[in-house]
């Protein structure tokens, strides 16, 4: 392991000052960052530990919910208010990683984890995200788990978070220390020809909280994976649906495991709103969104998979008999 310095700031301002030093990075739960340091993908000169200075509380108000960025995934998942008002969020958290990892991982850190693309994680191989301009071996290589939407000829990586998929569906906002808040759906730019740019955050930005407006409709997270637990999503969906008299009054859909960011399916939502809450309509809506898909040979199955998954979860939320 490469030698590095470790520092603990007293408050957010102190942390921001420390992280301004060369090659400095924030350290929260470290569940991804430390792995990447062992692999040589991340080579920070200084780790600024923010675990003791970030808020960890969960506050409910008329505006919704505000979750401190330092809150542990496991604590948020079992919070009574979260489970009652935003069950999709609890379900997404519990679908992620393992019990041990959830006990350490934080809400803020979860949003900034890196792709698990095998090529990104192997420093002996090219990767446009890790070393811009070296190429993307995944496109003609092991891409079965990678993206079908929002990808580019330079990068087909997926964002690995389950939490972020739920937050995308919930219209969450990411709050920063002394900077303007960012809607979750704007946090991750698409790779284009700069896949190394993974967020819109300015250098040194420190996530302090995530807020969610009230939901008030039934919601559900469903994750499809290669084993029953402790696996990244082959595809996942966070959905919320309000049906009145067989008509869709409101709907939220976000997909995971298929794109460089949690994929808010706005086109599918638009097609559904005001229309019939039928399985055929759910499938058609998914297809409307998936029209933009650019699958690769080994992940083309994700197109019908996501269509089926979307229909299944929306039908369940609508109480449609299948």
């Amino acid at each position: 392991m490469r030698p590095f310095d470790y520092a603990r700031a007293a408050d957010p301002a102190g942390a921001v000052a420390l992280v301004a030093r060369p090659a400095a990075k924030y350290l929260a739960g470290g569940t991804n960052l430390v792995d990447l340091m062992k692999l040589g993908v991340e080579t920070p000169a200084l780790l600024v530990d923010v675990t003791r200075l970030l808020p960890t509380g969960i506050e409910e108000s008329a505006d919704g919910l505000r979750i401190g960025a330092g809150a542990r995934n496991s604590d948020v998942a079992v919070d009574r208010r979260v489970r009652a008002g935003w069950p999709v969020l609890s379900q997404a958290l519990l679908a992620g990683a393992s019990g041990q990892l959830r006990n350490v991982a934080t809400i803020g850190g979860n949003l900034l984890q890196r792709t698990r693309c095998r090529y990104f994680q192997d420093v002996t191989k090219p990767c446009n995200k890790r070393v811009p301009g070296t190429g993307c071996p995944a496109i003609a290589g092991a891409h079965r788990d990678l993206g079908i939407l929002g990808t580019s000829e330079h990068c087909v990586a997926t964002h690995p978070s389950d939490l972020a998929v739920a937050l995308a569906a919930l219209d969450a906002t990411v709050h920063l220390h002394e900077a303007a808040p960012v809607p979750l759906t704007d946090l991750y730019p698409l790779p284009g020809d700069t896949p190394q740019v993974e967020t819109v955050l300015p250098p040194g930005a420190l996530i302090t909280a995530v807020s969610l407006p009230p939901l008030g409709l039934p919601s559900r997270y469903r994750k499809v994976r290669d084993r029953a637990s402790y696996a990244f999503a082959v595809a996942s969906i966070a959905a919320a649906l309000d049906v009145v008299d067989g008509t869709v009054r409101d709907v939220r859909i976000a997909w995971g495991g298929v794109a460089p960011r949690p994929w808010r399916a706005t086109e599918a939502e638009r097609v559904l709103r005001g229309g019939p809450a039928t399985e055929a309509a759910f499938r058609a809506a998914a297809d409307a969104e998936l029209a933009a898909a650019r699958p690769l040979p080994d992940n083309a199955f994700k197109v019908p998979l996501v269509r089926n998954l979307t229909a299944a979860v929306l039908a369940e939320l609508a109480g449609v008999d299948r």
């Binding site: 071996p137 290589g141 079965r144 290669d226 084993r227 089926n308 299944a312």
Partner: protein, 691 residues
């Protein structure tokens, strides 16, 4: 009441859960240094140079080893062990250099910075059936004929009313014991002491003695506790050679603990296979012809030919039979043993094809197997020492609730789940190897039995104590078993399901002899006897066919929307001779079945042929079953079986049969649930619904 047959708890259990049990890298050593390997980033080439001066200038670095400066080793048969003896790169990930440093961190960092100049050459890593360079090996592991032929297969196939001609493929899989390979090596004068994680310290010590030109009594390998191996630690691997070499070069003890990622390149794996099975039968399901042709891979360093078709030679009666193995010699890491090499992939293909034949004949798959039960071993013509396959199938059918099964596929639903059941047979050879042991009565009134058996987590230490207790006629708590040290009486490795069968023979013999000598009086200085079983094992009547048998039943649920397969029930019934300890035996069976579940559904090493390496080289990318995959409905039973022809205690060995047939049972259940026959493992969700 005898100790054998009771479910004693592991004697070392408290030590393991309190951390008192020491594993290979937990032994302290004064002045310890650490080694870290540098791996070839290409699959084929020639090593030109290593920037040793620059690396040596890095903090804490004591030595840089590579082909250009490594001490010379003596020739051994396994060329994987000739670490840094050649400038040739034979596969991606091969050790081409190593750094020794004051700390693990310094060694790892320096190894990452080392610049190895390699002239890269074109490589070839792709196993395909249409290659024109496939060849027939002289033998398959360990010493079977590559090809066999009985009768006229083509004529019998042509005359058959029902035929099945199908090709199955299995993915490369990696053993992945929880404890990666690890060693602490130190030279004490001209003596080499290594604490090492392996399945047989006797063989590892012999390899090290040969490589370093030492008399065997100058090498001691201690393997007191081992965190699994599944075959990958059956013999010495390059890591232990590197540790010993590094210790000699720096003149200090050296520790080398491989990382998880190393498991995917240098310590072995199960070869991918392509298997064509042809069956010919009458409308009544009686087999006329069985043909099993296997294509698999080996490396250019050492030939390993998995004996994939050997189960097909003795499972079922048929007028004509042909088995064949062909290898592709590729620029890949060397495949090696992984739990039930041969039977695990081969019986997947055979037992899946039997299921397809049952469907084609309109027969229940159990009835089909019963009808084709042979009177004698079809290959050798010898009688079976015991063969209770049919009893396992019937007992399992009763326990599982098979009897009123609706054979139609895709006919059962539970909400969005499609539900199906499947069955497959299992077999594994029952063999014994010569071993030696010593037993003595100590002054404290306890008995000590010494044998270089290895407890790789199976409970061997406990089980052998039970055998000794009964032979001596004392309670098990008066026995102290000393195992896992090459200075103890030599014995075979923990592998091939031969451990308990072989070791118990020597332990029983030593304990009985001691008891007999005690009856004549115990002299002042105590009493000790030494035995070995070489003559006894050699005297085994060769005219018996010795095998364990079993039956596996699976119920799967397949999500109709996503294709996800979950195993809701897995049940095994075994006929394995005498079971010494029901508690540890059950763990062996459940472990084997779980590994079979992984082989069926989740485990797959993905090679990127452009680079020539397995890319999913960690537990996030290589999916071993999690607890949630196994669930609680996994059951193992065994029949009372006495077999006096295998060894004195009638033990057949249980370490491997639990994996054999499980992938077929699950695959057959997936077909029954969905009507989709996936013929390439693992059965991923995209193969079930989306192709």
């Amino acid at each position: 009441m005898t100790a054998v047959g009771t479910g004693l708890r592991r004697t070392e259990g408290p030590d393991k859960v309190t951390g008192a049990a020491r594993y290979a890298v937990e032994y302290p050593a004064a002045g310890l240094a650490y080694a870290w390997p540098v791996q070839a980033p290409v699959a084929r080439g020639t090593v030109r140079s290593v920037d040793t001066d620059a690396v040596l200038a890095l903090p804490g670095v004591l030595a840089v080893l590579w082909h250009g400066n490594a001490p010379r080793l003596a020739e051994v048969a396994d060329h994987e062990l000739l670490v840094f003896q050649s400038d040739r790169v034979a596969y991606h990930g091969q050790f081409v250099a190593a750094v020794v440093a004051d700390s693990l961190e310094a060694a790892r960092e320096a190894a990452a910075r080392a610049r190895v100049e390699i002239d890269e050459q074109p490589h070839d890593t792709e196993l395909r059936a249409d290659r024109d360079d496939l060849y027939t090996p002289e033998k398959v592991n360990p010493n079977y004929a590559s090809d066999t032929s009985q009768g006229d297969v083509d004529a019998e196939l042509a005359a058959s009313e029902v035929t099945v001609d199908v090709t199955y493929e299995t993915a490369a899989t990696h053993n992945n014991p929880m404890e990666p390979h690890a060693s602490t090596a130190q030279w004490l004068g001209d003596r080499l002491l290594v604490h090492d994680s392996n399945q047989g310290a006797t063989g590892v010590a012999q390899s090290l003695a040969t490589l370093f030109g030492l008399a065997e009594d100058r090498v001691q390998v201690v393997s007191a506790h081992v965190g699994g191996g599944f075959g990958a630690k059956g013999t010495a691997r390059p890591n232990v050679v590197l540790a010993a070499m590094a210790a000699r070069v720096v003149g200090r003890p050296v520790r080398l603990a491989l990382a998880r990622q190393h498991q995917f390149s240098v310590v072995g794996y199960r070869t991918p296979t392509i298997q064509r099975i042809r069956l010919g039968a009458g409308a009544d399901g009686l087999l006329r012809a069985i043909s099993h042709e296997v294509i698999e891979q080996t490396s250019t360093v050492r030939e390993f030919a998995e004996q994939t078709a050997v189960g097909t030679r003795m499972m079922y009666a048929a007028a004509a039979r042909r088995t064949a193995h062909k290898l592709a010699r590729l620029d890949v890491p060397t495949p090696a043993w992984m739990r039930a090499p041969g039977e695990a992939p081969g019986m997947y293909a055979l037992e899946s094809a039997l299921d397809e034949l049952a469907v084609a004949c309109g027969l229940d798959p159990i009835e089909l197997r019963v009808r084709n039960e042979p009177a004698v071993d079809p290959e050798s013509g010898h009688p079976f020492s015991s063969r209770n396959l049919v009893a396992c199938l019937r007992d399992g059918a009763s326990r599982f609730g098979w009897t009123d099964r609706d054979p139609r596929p895709r006919a059962r639903r539970d909400g969005r789940w499609l539900v199906g059941t499947g069955v497959a047979a299992a077999t594994y050879p029952a063999r014994s190897r010569p071993a030696s042991a010593a037993a003595r009565m100590r002054r404290d009134g306890r008995f000590q039995v010494d044998i270089n058996a290895t407890d790789i987590g199976t409970g061997a230490r406990t089980v052998l104590g039970q055998v000794a207790a009964d032979a001596l006629g004392v309670a098990p708590d008066r026995i102290e078993m000393c195992v896992g040290d090459s200075t103890l009486p030599p014995a075979n490795l923990a592998g091939g399901s031969m451990g308990t069968a072989s070791w118990s023979w020597a332990v029983d013999k030593a304990a009985r002899e001691l008891r007999a000598r005690m009856a004549a009086g115990v002299p002042e200085g105590g009493l000790e006897v030494s035995v070995d079983t070489a003559d006894d094992v050699a005297a085994l009547d060769a005219h018996w066919s010795r095998h364990a048998f079993g039956a596996h039943f699976a119920e799967v649920r397949v999500d109709a929307d996503t294709g996800e397969v979950r195993v809701s029930r897995l049940l095994g019934v075994y006929a394995v001779g005498r079971v010494v300890n029901p508690t540890t035996a059950r763990s062996q069976f459940l472990g084997g079945m779980t590994m079979g579940l992984g082989m069926a559904l989740t485990e797959e090493s993905t090679m990127d042929h452009r680079f020539g390496d397995y890319v999913n080289d960690d537990f996030a990318g290589y999916h071993v079953p999690a607890c949630a995959d196994v669930g609680t409905a996994i059951e193992a039973y065994w029949l009372e079986e006495q077999d006096r022809y295998v060894n004195p205690l009638g033990i057949k060995g249980i370490g491997e049969i639990g994996i054999v047939g499980v992938p077929a049972a699950i695959g057959n259940a997936v077909w029954h649930a969905t009507g989709v026959r996936v013929r390439d493992l693992p059965i991923r969700l995209d193969k079930v619904l989306f192709r």
